[in-house]
Symmetry: C2
Subunit: 341 residues, 2 copies
DNA sequence: CTGAAAGCGCTAACAC
DNA sequence: GTGTTAGCGCTTTCAG
C-alpha cells in the first residue's frame, strides 16, 4: 500500500469539477443525468469522475435532500430463516422502486433491539420495517413520530403503524382439518409456549377441534419452538393412557423433536402416528424429514411490508392498515390415514 | 394521525438550543458529555432535548466528522446460517468498541453484490467486511482504495485486504482420521462441487487418505452443497461394487441427503455406514439428525474480521494479514466402528 | 445551458 | 464556560 492509503483521500465533486473544467453544480447535474447538460460537458464530467474514481457521498446527498432513498429493516434474529425470507420480499420490492435496504439486528435481545432501531432513526432512513421485534410499543410509537413504520409478524396496534401478519389461527385449523379428513380423531397439539404466533395457533387448534366435534379429544402438551421442546412435549403425550394418532407441532423445529420421540418409542411415521409441522422451513423440505407442514407466505409478507412503506413514503397518510395473509398446507410424507386397528 | 405527521418534522439541534436558551454548540457539547459544560446548563439542554424528542442526525454528524462510527457488512446469503454466526462475532466485537453494524446482502447474485458494496461505500461506512462474496477482485481492490476491507471465508489475495478463513483441508483430514481411527478403510467422499471450500476439502480428503495408506480406497462421488446433491452422490456410491463403510459429506445439508439415500437402501447409520458432515450447522445438532460433523469457528471468524477492521481503523497500515482458523470435529451419533463382518 | 450562492444539521476550532 | 464562525460534500434555487 502506498503512503497515501494510510488515511484514504476521497475525491469530491469539487475535484471532478476542477478536472473537467466546470462548476460543481454542473458536475452534480451531469452525474445524475439531469436534462439540461450539453452532451460534450456531460462526457467530460463522466470521464473526469471515472479517472478520479469518484463515488458520490450518500451522506452529503442525504443531508441536503433530507431523504436517504434507503429503508431500514430491523430483524430480531438472523438465525431464524423466517427473517431471511421476509427480507427477500422486502428487497425485491425495494429494488424495484429505487430504494436500498439496510439491515440491523437485535440478536434476540430487547436492549439491543432498541439500540438497533435507534441506529436506524439516527441514520434517517426514509422508512423503518420492524420484523417481529421485542421492542416496546412505546418505542414503536415514538419512532412513528419521525418516520413511517411497518410491523411484520406482530399484530400490535399503534397509531399510524401498518402491520403485516399471518393468520396463525387459520393455519392451525388447516392442520387439524387435514388430519381429520384423513380419518384422525385423537389429534394432539405440542404447544409453542410463548413463542410468536403460538397463542393464536393454540386457539385455532382448539376451535377447529371443537368445530369438528372433537372437543373431547383435545390434548395439549407443553412445549416451545425448539427441538428439545418438541421432544419433551411428545414424550408426555406418549405416556398418557390414550395415545394420539396424530400430532400438530408448534413449528417445524419442534416437529423434529417429536420425530425423535416417536422413533425412540418405536412408533413409525406416518404408519402409527401422523405429524404436521408449522412454518414450512427448509428443514421441513429435507427428504430426511419430509414434513407435512403449514406454509406461511413469508416472502409475500416482506413484499407487503415494503409496499406499505412505499405508500407512506408517497404521502399516504391516514390510519393504520392491517394486512393479514393466509397460510396454506403443504403435504409431504408425515401424514396418512390412521392404521385401521 | 395529526396533520403534522404527514411530513414528519424533526427537531434539530437549533430547536433544542432555542428551547434551552443556549447556543447550538453548547447543545452539541452537552449532549455528548463534553467536559466543559456547567451542570445546570447540561440539565437544561437534556431536558429540552427530551421534551422535543430530539434525536441526533447521524448523517450530519457523519458528514462533518468524516466518519460514521459504523462498519458495513456484506453477506452473500442470509439463507445460509453460516453468515448469521459470522455476524454474531462481528457485532459482539463492534459493540464493544462503539461501532454500529450495518448489513447489506447480495442474495447470491453477482450484480446485486456489487450494488450492495457500492451502497456501503457511498454510505461511507468506516470499514467494510465482505463475507464470502462473489465480488470481482477488481471491485474488492477498488473498494480498498477508499476504506479498510476485510474478507471472510474467502482466501483471495488483494493488496492491503485482510482475510479470515477456515482451514477446510484440515477439516476434511479430521473427518478422515476420525473414521480411520474407528477402523474404517473404505471411506468415500460425496463432493461439494464448486461450492466455497469444496476444493480444499476434497484435497484434504485425498491427502489424508494417502497419508493413512488408504490411497487405494479413495472414492469421490460428484455432489454439491444441497440435500439433493448429497442424495445423488450417495446413490452412486452405493451402486458401486465395493460399498464404502463410511462417507464424508461436503457439508451438513448434503449429509442429510446421504442419510436419505442410506435409509432407502436399507442401510443403518452408523451400524452399516458411518457418516460425517461438515459445518456443524443447527441442522446437525437436531436429535433427529444427530450428525457427527466438522465445526467451523464461525463466530470467531466474525470476531477476527471485526478486529482486523479495528486495527486498520486505528491506523494500522502495512500488508495484508491472512488469518486461518482451525476447525474441530464434533462427534455425535452417525459414526461408529464398522460392523465386524 | 451554466455558474454563483445558500444551506442541509452538525462539530470543531477559535474567540471572549 | 459559552458563543461565533467556518465548513463537511452535496443539491437546488436563482441569475445570467
Amino acid at each position: 500500500m502506498s503512503e497515501r492509503a494510510e488515511r484514504a483521500w476521497r475525491p469530491t465533486i469539487l475535484d471532478v469539477a476542477a478536472r473537467a473544467g466546470v462548476s460543481k453544480s454542473l458536475v452534480s447535474r451531469a452525474l445524475r443525468d439531469a436534462p439540461t447538460v450539453s452532451p460534450a460537458r456531460r462526457a467530460a464530467v463522466r470521464q473526469a469522475a471515472e479517472e478520479l474514481g469518484y463515488r458520490p457521498n450518500a451522506v452529503a446527498r442525504s443531508l441536503v435532500q433530507r431523504r436517504s432513498h434507503t429503508v431500514g429493516v430491523m430483524v430480531s434474529d438472523l438465525h431464524n430463516l423466517f427473517f431471511a425470507e421476509v427480507l427477500d420480499g422486502v428487497e425485491a420490492v425495494a429494488a424495484g422502486h429505487g430504494y436500498r435496504v439496510l439491515i440491523v439486528t437485535g440478536n434476540r435481545d430487547r436492549a439491543a433491539e432498541e439500540q438497533a432501531l435507534e441506529t436506524l432513526l439516527e441514520l434517517r432512513t426514509d422508512a423503518v420495517i420492524l420484523a417481529s421485534s421485542r421492542l416496546s410499543l412505546r418505542s414503536v410509537a415514538a419512532a412513528r413520530q419521525s418516520v413511517p413504520v411497518t410491523l411484520v409478524a406482530r399484530a400490535a396496534r399503534v397509531a399510524g403503524v401498518d402491520t403485516v401478519t399471518n393468520d396463525d389461527g387459520r393455519g392451525a385449523r388447516l392442520a387439524v382439518e387435514h388430519l381429520a379428513s384423513l380419518g384422525h380423531r385423537r389429534i394432539a397439539l405440542v404447544d409453542g409456549g410463548s413463542g410468536p404466533g403460538s397463542a393464536a395457533r393454540r386457539r385455532g387448534y382448539r376451535a377447529a377441534m371443537g368445530a369438528l366435534g372433537l372437543a373431547d379429544e383435545i390434548g395439549v402438551a407443553a412445549g416451545d419452538f425448539t427441538d428439545e421442546g418438541g421432544y419433551r412435549g411428545a414424550r408426555s403425550l406418549l405416556t398418557g393412557s390414550s395415545r394420539p394418532t396424530a400430532i400438530c407441532a408448534g413449528n417445524d423445529l419442534a416437529a423434529t423433536g417429536v420425530l425423535t420421540a416417536l422413533a425412540e418409542a418405536g412408533l413409525r411415521v406416518p404408519a402409527d402416528v401422523s405429524l404436521v409441522g408449522y412454518d414450512n422451513t427448509a428443514l421441513a423440505a429435507l427428504r430426511h424429514v419430509s414434513l407435512t407442514t403449514i406454509h406461511q407466505p413469508r416472502t409475500e409478507m416482506g413484499e407487503a411490508a415494503m409496499r406499505a412503506a412505499l405508500r407512506r413514503l408517497d404521502g399516504g397518510a391516514g390510519r393504520a392498515r392491517r394486512l393479514v395473509l393466509q397460510p396454506s398446507l403443504v403435504q409431504r410424507a408425515t401424514t396418512a390415514s390412521p392404521a385401521a386397528s
